[in-house]
């Protein structure tokens, strides 16, 4: 068992920043992450065996991520990569799997910076090989340096669309179309909040310019209503949507493609704070359920802090600032001397970054009409192949809560543990309860937080040496 002052879960911008600040302030910090290097998904590094020959070609995020990695490496924080955390006991005792074995870490303070996962509201054909999330496409393009396909439809919501499409072009691929649910007017409405970050706004316009120059067809106010193909993707069907993103009948158009990348916003990953019993609230504009927290980012469970997008979607810049503030706050509360004026400056910067981040997040969040892209036959739960008709049938039988729906249909019982289907199932349940997502509840989080090899839990043992408890009453 390895003991320290603080355990940070997640080495994305928030977790890495928190670890840097807390460790520099004198705390003994352990940072755990499932990836091979710091950066999280947004700044995911290329494999360590790759040599970056042209940093500029790797885009501005690479430089930011590399700076963060260097700062972290120079800090006293002890980083452990390739660790998949599967259980946390109060106190806090963290169990993580590394190369098939469980390791145990212990600290009185926990900073949870687990980031996000992507929401995809299903449509027919979304399980075909060749269909992937926007975040997945970003990882392939930026980190793995491979194209998601030869001719790709990029669809969904938010700034990732243009970013991914531009990266595909830059990498030598073809974008069959960009299909966006938001309209130009949605973006115009968000503009007053977006001008707080003129640099990012400029980057967005740059991507759009590149798409136009390449002659990429752009459909705004459109949904992907189906992905076609038998064994692999051959194309998509799109339709215009109403203000609630309900596809309009009878106005379908088809586009040929060999791959599709799609996303409907990001969802804060709250499995750790749920596991620990912290209170959460539903905040649509922040991506969904978020842990309640005070200004030091401490949750309702003392000494558990949340940082980054896992505390509510606000973007990478805000995530890093939240991480730094949390790291400083944890150090301050542990009696370490910190630069108070620096904390004040960071908090001011955070206000600005959050304003931008929340505006973008709000723009990305799926609207209620989008559930109509799920036809009765559409698989909602990919693991257990539960269809919309199955879920509708459970709702008719009286299901009102996400855990009840899971028990009744197996939706969310498979290896992804509800991360892929949870949003769609909750949206269907909310639709019959006045659209109120807070009424349908959150999936209960239980260990292991990811599917874990059996041997990693049980370890080596000899039955003869096992001390069984007393027999149950017979």
């Amino acid at each position: 068992m390895s003991a320290c002052d603080v355990i940070v879960l997640g080495a994305g911008p928030a977790g890495a920043s928190a670890a840097i600040e807390a460790s520099k302030a004198g705390l003994n910090v352990v940072l755990l992450d499932a990836g091979a290097a710091a950066g999280g998904q947004v700044y995911r590094a290329p494999p360590g065996s790759f040599r970056v020959t042209d940093a500029e070609a790797m885009g501005p995020d690479f430089a930011i991520g590399d700076g963060l990695r260097q700062e972290l490496a120079a800090s006293p924080a002890k980083c452990f990569f390739g660790r998949s955390v599967w259980h946390i006991a109060p106190g806090f005792v963290v169990r993580a799997v590394f190369e098939g074995n469980t390791e145990v870490y212990e600290a009185p303070t926990l900073i949870v910076a687990m980031g996000t996962h992507e929401r995809v509201i299903p449509m027919p054909g979304w399980t075909l090989p060749g269909v992937m999330g926007l975040a997945a496409a970003t990882i392939l393009l930026k980190s793995q340096r491979i194209l998601p396909g030869e001719n790709t439809v990029v669809a969904g919501t938010g700034p990732l669309l243009a970013a991914v499409a531009a990266s595909i072009l830059k990498g030598g691929g073809k974008v069959a179309a960009l299909v966006e649910l938001s309209t130009r007017m949605d973006w115009v409405k968000a503009l007053p909040s977006l001008i707080s970050r003129p640099d990012l706004l400029k980057r967005g316009f740059g991507w759009l310019g590149e798409l136009r120059a390449a002659g990429v067809p752009i459909y705004r106010g459109h949904a992907l209503t189906a992905i076609t193909g038998d064994a692999e993707v051959t194309g998509v069907e799109i339709a215009p949507v109403d203000a609630q993103w309900r596809p309009l009948a009878g106005q379908r158009r088809t586009i040929a493609a060999d791959s599709v990348t799609i996303g409907h916003g990001l969802v804060p990953s709250t499995e750790v704070t749920r596991l620990m019993g912290a209170k959460h609230e539903y905040r649509h504009e922040q991506g969904g359920w978020v842990a309640l927290r005070n200004e030091d980012f401490e949750t309702t469970i003392p000494n558990i802090f949340v940082a980054g997008d896992g505390a509510g979607i606000a973007g990478a810049a805000a995530a890093a600032l939240r991480g730094r503030i949390t790291g400083l706050a944890v150090a301050r509360r542990a009696g370490r001397k910190i630069d108070a004026s620096r904390e004040t400056t960071l908090r001011a910067q955070l206000g600005k970054a959050e304003r931008f981040g929340h505006a973008i997040s709000d723009l990305m969040q799926a609207r209620p009409g989008l559930i109509e892209t799920m036809t009765p036959e559409t698989i909602v739960c990919r693991c257990e192949e539960v269809t919309r008709a199955d879920l509708d049938s459970a709702i008719r039988d009286g299901a009102r809560d996400v855990n009840q729906m899971k028990a009744w249909t197996r939706c969310g019982m498979g290896p992804c543990q509800g991360r892929m289907c949870g949003e769609a199932a909750a949206s269907l349940l909310a639709a019959v309860q006045g659209g109120d997502r807070s009424k349908v509840g959150q999936l209960t989080a239980r260990p292991p937080l990811r599917p874990i090899p059996y041997e990693a839990i049980v370890g080596q043992f000899d039955y003869a040496d096992m001390e069984l408890p007393e027999p149950q009453p017979g």
Partner: protein
Amino acid sequence: MGARRIEGGIARPAPVSIDVDGQSIQAFPGESVATALWAAGIRALRTSPVSASARGIFCAMGVCQECVADIDGRTTPTCLEPVREGMRISLRWNRP
């Protein structure tokens, strides 16, 4: 046809061989197994245990579990597993 690797910006190490159901595939050490399969034209990584429908890379970050395969005898999401020389991969076709 395999997906194309992007050449700009980085230099890859010398390729190695990995074994996929008895077939030898060239891959670059450190890239994910999923990427190597993708580049080799293997987009369908397994069949689903319920209807045996084909699945491929979906989240690329170890969440969706769609890309799992048996790597050196252990159930592993291929998107998180870096390529190492000589690794043996068995894809899950029509097997629960």
